[in-house]
């Protein structure tokens, strides 16, 4: 085991510790570190200053070569440094025993996990695998844009948004599973912020200046106004029809209206509630806010396998999160739709096929990680685009089918155009994206007599280049 120590800036390295099988190094800062590390490196930050300790800790986690290694602190820094590190140690022996457990697990991982430019997915899986007692639980962070954060993940990947999408994808690929639903936060539909201020406003002009007042309702003319406008030398007189109001229940009563807008004088029973986002100032009604569940995660068996073998399930599995059904079920449904269309002339549906053309090429040029990221992004976009009644399946490695019931020519064109737009929307930093081709079948126009679902898909597949 190699114990790498970071003392106080300008401070002295502590005396060498004599322990069997432990080598000892001391560096002043991150930049002084050598470029290669062994899997047995253990970092101890004995820096007292939280600012520089945080910088050091973040840098170590961010670096794929050191990110998964045990990193300990000697001072109590609290949240979030405590969560980013592997905790606080009091003695070198303590560091040794705790690091040993992690290092043993790290050694079981595939080398791909530690590669520079390797997959984020593998690093997350590796991190969780090496700390088996750890559930990936979100931490409550009031200053975070979404109230909850995964500090260690964020330090590793660099941005909270990336963590969110990666965790979602890992869950979709069944590499992670959700353990507990901890909370549900509502996000601004515009910027995703959760710092919302709920304000009650006038339902007519949406002005915030509303006042709760006592109101009266004149039976003679039906006017409803605040009580103070009815006061006339101590008695009540309707400001509208001048009727004297003497007897509650006979001349007037208290209406349900309770509020008056000081801007437009509108009188109302209940104010409208709006959520103002404290990040982007967007006003949105509460039902338009996006509810987001907050889960804690743990590794699945598949995830453990992937971490140890360094092999992710094929990238196409990512597509399976798009309203996916099994191919057999899909074929049966197409059969049924065809039968319906034959029997009822007004019945219409569309089948769209997609074939990815350049995955092998992309893999060769940019590596597996880029392909996964692109597929992930494509699948997410497709999911947004597909309606709840649409169904999808995957036959073969690179072919993806969509069944759009009750959608015939020319309405299918809208969906098709949006799919084709994805070619421009999904690309990596170099502007390279996934290229795909599409085939379209419209019932009843394109129907052949006697064709079954299986035959139909085979015919359409022939339409690909």
């Amino acid at each position: 085991m190699e114990l790498i120590c970071f003392p106080e800036p300008g401070g002295r390295c502590p005396d060498e510790i004599q322990m069997d099988g432990v080598t000892y190094h001391c560096y002043n800062d991150y930049a002084a570190l050598p470029t290669s590390f062994s899997l047995t490196s253990v970092f101890v930050i004995s820096n007292q200053d939280p600012g520089s300790a945080a910088r050091l800790l973040q840098a170590l986690r961010r670096d794929p070569r050191t990110g998964l290694q045990p990193i300990f602190l000697t001072s109590e820094f609290g949240f979030p440094l405590e969560q980013i590190s592997d905790g606080r140690i009091s003695t070198p022996v303590d560091a040794y025993t705790r690091a040993k457990a992690i290092i043993d697990r790290l050694q079981q991982l595939d080398a791909a996990v530690f590669e520079l430019g390797g997959s984020d997915f593998l690093r997350i899986l590796g991190y969780l695998y090496s700390r088996p007692e750890l559930h990936l639980a979100p931490q409550r962070t009031w200053s975070s844009e979404c109230f909850y954060s995964y500090p260690a993940m964020e330090a590793m990947l660099g941005s909270p948004q990336l963590v969110t999408t990666r965790l979602l994808s890992l869950h979709d690929c069944k590499l992670l599973q959700r353990t507990t639903l901890l909370d549900r936060v509502r996000q601004c539909p515009s910027c995703g912020g959760v710092h919302l201020n709920f304000i009650d406003v006038c339902p007519s002009c949406r002005h915030i200046d509303i006042l709760q007042k006592a109101f009266l309702h004149c039976f003679t003319c039906g006017s409803v106004a605040p009580e103070d406008r009815f006061l006339d030398q101590g008695a009540l007189r309707c400001p509208n029809c001048q009727a004297r109001l003497r007897h509650i229940g006979a001349d007037y009563d208290r209406p349900l209206e309770n509020f008056e807008c000081q801007n437009c004088r509108h009188v109302f029973i209940e104010p409208e509630v709006l959520a103002r986002c404290m990040h982007c100032a967007t006003l949105s009604p509460p039902d338009k806010l996006t509810p987001r569940p907050v889960y804690s995660y743990e590794l699945t068996d598949l995830g453990i396998q992937a971490a140890r073998s360094g092999l992710l399930e094929d990238v196409f599995a990512l597509l399976d999160k798009v309203n996916n059904v099994s191919p057999t079920y899909f074929l049966n449904l197409v059969d049924w739709q065809l039968a319906l269309a034959r029997r009822h002339s007004e019945e219409r549906f569309t089948v769209i096929g997609m074939r990815m053309k350049n995955l092998a090429d992309l893999n060769a040029r940019f590596g597996r990680q880029v392909v996964i990221e692109l597929m992930d992004s494509l699948a997410n976009r497709l999911r947004e685009l597909v309606r709840t009644t649409d169904l999808a399946t995957r036959t073969g490695q690179q072919i993806f089918w969509l069944l759009l019931p009750k959608t015939g020519r020319p309405q299918h064109q809208i969906v098709l155009n949006r799919i084709l737009d994805l070619k421009n929307l999904v690309h990596n930093e170099e502007g390279e994206g996934i290229d795909f081709e599409t085939v379209v079948f419209n019932a009843p126009e394109d129907m052949d007599p006697g064709e079954t679902g299986k035959l139909l898909l085979a015919r359409l597949e022939g339409g690909f280049e």
Partner: protein, 444 residues
Amino acid sequence: MEVLREAWNGLLLLLISPFGAGWMELMLKFVPFVLFLEMPVYLFILLGALRHALKRDFAVAEERPYYPKVSCLITCYNEGEDVKRTIVSVAEQRYPGQIELIPLVDGAIQNSSTYEAAMSMDAYVNAMPNRSLRVIPKWQRGGAVSSLNLGLNLVTGEVVMALDGDTSFDNDMVLNVARNFENPSVIGVAGNLRVRNAKINLLTRLQALEYLLAINVSRVGLSEFGVVHVISGALGGFRRSFLEKVGGYDTGTAQDGDITLRMKNYYGRHPDLRLVFESRAIGQTDAPTTWRVFFKQRQRWDGDLYYLYIRKHARSFLPRMQGWTNAIMQAWTGLYFQLLMPYIILIYTAFVFAFYPTGMVLGTWAMVYLLYTLVNMVFFAVHVFLFSERRREDLQLAWLLPVLPLFMFAQRVNNALATLKQMTCSSHLDSSMAPWWVLRKSKF
């Protein structure tokens, strides 16, 4: 037919030459009863009403910030949901001072719906500034008197109001009652009652009209000369210290007339004490809607009068008790009008029908009827133009003025029966106002 023609001729003759021979004899026999005794009272009342109106119109309006704490005892029985209207109308008074609402539900076990309705107002009233509600259930029925005396032990206000659970109040009622007590000699204030359900049928309309003339104008006029016969149990206010001094309410029916009379009995010794009729303190009450219930109610009222004046408080007619004015006015308008006159009218009617030609009698009657209608019209005009705060509403009752004397005649007959019943059967011991085991305790 012959009789009707004769009646018509007789009426015409009386209208054209009232002092013609022959008819004169009949008139002289009739006039003392009708004109000499009733007309002066009507004139007296009219003068008083006019004086009141003039004084009011020429007075310098001053609103002094005198807002004593008012405790309202609301006697409830089987009003059910209607009690909420009463409670809301008291709680919603335009009165800056404190109002303590104490609904007393008599027989709260059998009247649980009333009790629950009153309880349901708790949050509503107690949330209002300067208002408090405390519902008192009296599980064992004990009658209105026991409710009021119990309430008297609980009140904290300087002014105590006795209100009826089926009466709702105009929003300036408490203010108008309370401000009378700024004068330290005022010990009680009678409120003005209107009929809330006037629009239901002919009977309720007639009662509404009767209330306007009999309660509003008559009492304003009499009050102007310091004469107040009764502080109604549906709406009355008292100075608490004085109410406690007279020992609260006494058992038996007609507790309102009783307490009024007992207070008036201090007049002789303390001539400065006053009861006031406040025409601007208005309560609206539900009048009986069927003739049967109506006659029964009036029998109770009129019977109670005999019980009160003759059986219980005969001595209060001594001038040294009430003072001369009140003793005379009470003897005249109370004893004579209410108790004696119905008999005089009945006997007289029998007499003239027996000794004079029917046509002639009917003609005279028509004349008298016209006279009464005329008096009522004058009273009505005085009411509408000088006192009414709801002119348009009241004018809608004007078409009933010609029917009113007939209605009053029916009441007089009923009244005579009631007095007879009271004299012979002591029907006050069988009143709906209190259970028999309570009424039995009465000495009278």
